[in-house]
């Protein structure tokens, strides 16, 4: 099925990560730490989606 689910998952968690990190910085740190963790996870999923697309193009 044509959709790579890693893309929306990565995007959603990256957005959550950015929002929570900024909110956490602004308001002491569970929000900041959770935000950074989600940003890292979202980034990893986006990278995996890009890598999958690149591999498919090569093949």
């Amino acid at each position: 099925m044509g959709l790579d689910i890693k893309l929306p998952i990565g995007l959603m968690f990256a957005i959550f990560g950015v929002i929570l990190s900024i909110f956490g910085l602004v308001t002491g740190n569970i929000n900041l730490l959770s935000g950074l963790f989600m940003l890292a996870f979202g980034g990893f999923m986006l990278f995996a989606a890009w890598f999958t697309k690149k591999s498919k193009k090569k093949a």
Partner: protein
């Protein structure tokens, strides 16, 4: 109890999640060109997606809310629902049963029963499963609306309608839109999204809770302050005939074998995820990939229950559980811990994770109902021989009807709580005999359609009969048993269920064998190829690397489960 005080960021997180859920459905809409794409996900999904969906479809409200409540009531003994009550069955499904399900090209579990046995066995399973899934979906919807009504700070009355109706309608519309647009693929993809959200959403709760009470040792010390929760850190050491979970035989045979194999190996709701995989190898790996997170989910849902009891024992001034009847309302463990530990921001994430668990349960049931209704009831008995486009349309209409009937059952649940208990009980009676039919059908070619059907029937009746003669301690209604006469009292409802399952399975097994040997085979060896173990060529796995092979993965899963069991003995 007081509602949560949420701020803009909590609502924003919920809104973003709902936008993504609906967006996935919308993105998949263009691929829904035929009935197979809509109802079977075109059998094209990778193993990691179907593996996580396999677990997520089961990670509904009962799992998150119910297992946390069990953790508060029984401690680590609740892990029996995972390490012995799920993992062995998932390994068995992957190694022995998926080759038949996937290789037979059956589009559903009832269709496999038709190919292996006959029409009446398929009809028995199709109708009972269709009714069960639609009621389960309704119960999830009802539970979500009740919880949202208690937790969220929106209260209003508009004529006869209140916020309960609003939450019910919103959850139903979201599930309807994304399952209508993208069918099974949309449900599966969203289950993967929901899986990550549930894990990441509840992780801060577990970490903060454990850090606050002094880690694992601090929790054990606080649990030891009350004789009722002393020893909660052990899974097996406290098991005895007076334990609420029953004795060792009941746990191993009743839960670990009959109920667990009956659910994980024959319930189309979870098997459908594996059947949507893109290859035989991916289909076999699906339950094994799902088994890895499944083994660690107890740390996400059971430990919060234990943290809650440790907080109550140490008289934490910021934590309490509401009462229900004469005792505590253990179903409120997760919501009350969210309130205790999570500040605005991650609180929105935790609440969204809770909503996601309810919605994955709803969507899973609706899509399974769709497939069984369209293929096993509509196409088989009502309107056979139409075009593929016709069945695609029927599948889409069934989605709408399924959600509408779910809403109706949610209202029935709100009016008659016992009716839903009663219906769930009836379906529990069917589960154990069904596994007996599958076990004999898949592993002996001599089992006949008559044998399987009457085995199913007699097993179900015997389950009802045993239920009518026994009660759990403290039962106050006939729905709990003893409606014929009371000849035995079990220490708990759980112990009663394990025993009923064992007896029903035994009766179904014996009756199926006797009737099979007394009746003629109607299927030739040629017809049973790919459906029975001894008549099916051995599956050659096409995995590139040795460590990706299902047999190797199964050994790794089994070893980890054994290590975890020993660590928390």
């Amino acid at each position: 109890m007081e509602s949560f005080s949420l701020t803009w960021i909590d609502w924003a997180i919920m809104l973003i999640y709902f936008i993504f859920v609906l967006g996935i459905g919308w993105a998949l809409k263009k691929y829904m060109r035929d009935a197979s794409a809509f109802l079977e996900a075109g059998r094209s999904l990778p193993a990691w997606v179907t593996g996580l969906a396999f677990i997520s479809a089961n990670l509904g409200a009962l799992e998150v809310i119910g297992m946390a409540a069990s953790g508060a009531k029984y401690g680590m003994a609740t892990v029996h629902f995972y390490w012995i009550g799920a993992i062995p069955a998932m390994i068995f499904l992957a190694i022995f049963m998926m080759p038949f399900y996937y290789g037979s090209k059956a589009r559903s579990v009832p269709e496999y029963l038709k190919l292996r046995f006959d029409e009446k066995t398929r009809a028995f399973n199709a109708f009972s499963f269709a009714i069960m899934t639609i009621f389960s979906s309704g119960i999830s919807m009802y539970a979500l609306a009740i919880l949202a009504k208690v937790l969220l700070p929106i209260h209003f009355e508009f004529g006869p309608f209140t916020e309960f109706d609003f939450y019910l309608l919103v959850s139903a519309v979201i599930v309807l839109v994304y399952t209508y647009l993208g069918g099974l693929s949309s449900a599966i993809y969203n289950e993967v999204l929901q899986f990550f959200l549930i894990v990441i959403g509840f992780l801060p709760l577990v970490i903060l809770g454990l850090v606050h009470i002094g880690g694992w040792d601090g929790m054990v010390d606080k649990l030891a302050l009350n004789p009722a929760t002393t020893g909660f850190e052990h899974s097996w050491a406290n098991i005895s005939s007076s334990h609420p979970m029953g004795n060792v035989i009941g746990i191993i045979m009743g839960l670990g074998f009959v109920l667990s194999f009956g659910y994980w190996c024959t319930n189309f709701l979870v098997v459908q995820r594996a059947m949507a995989a893109g290859s035989m190898s991916a289909a076999r790996k699906t339950p094994l990939i799902g088994a890895f997170p499944k083994m660690f989910i107890p740390f996400l849902v059971i430990i919060p229950g234990m943290i809650a009891m440790a907080l109550l024992n140490s008289e934490d001034s910021l934590f309490s559980l509401p009462t229900k009847g004469t005792g505590l309302d253990y179903d409120m463990v997760i919501p009350m811990l969210l309130k205790r530990y999570l500040p605005t921001g991650v609180l929105g994430l935790g609440l969204t994770a809770l909503m996601a668990s309810f919605m994955s349960g709803m969507a899973g049931n609706v899509t399974a109902f769709n497939t069984v209704w369209t293929y096993d009831i509509y196409q088989s008995y009502l309107v056979p021989g139409k075009s593929d486009k016709h069945y695609l349309k029927v599948g889409q209409i069934t989605t709408v009807v399924g959600v509408l009937v779910s809403i109706l059952t949610a209202y029935v649940a709100s009016l008659f709580n016992n009716v839903m208990d009663f219906l769930q009980l009836i379906f529990a009676f069917i589960n154990a005999p069904l596994f007996a039919a599958f076990l004999l059908g898949m592993f002996t070619k001599r089992t006949t359609g008559h044998g399987a059907f009457y085995g199913l029937l007699s097993g179900t009746i015997s389950a009802a009969f045993v239920h009518g003669l026994t009660v759990p301690a403290g039962a106050t209604t006939l729905v709990k048993g003893g409606w014929l006469s009371v000849v035995h009292e079990f220490p708990s409802e759980m112990a009663q269920n394990f025993s009923i399952a064992m007896i029903a399975f035994g009766v179904a097994l014996v009756v199926t064998l006797i009737i099979s040997f007394a009746t003629k085979r109607t299927k030739t060896d040629e017809e049973l190829k790919g459906l029975v173990y001894q008549l099916t060529p051995k599956t050659i796995d096409d995995s590139k690397n040795w460590y990706e092979r299902p047999n190797v993965l199964a050994v790794i899963v089994g070893v980890i489960a054994i290590i975890l069991t020993i660590l928390f003995w």
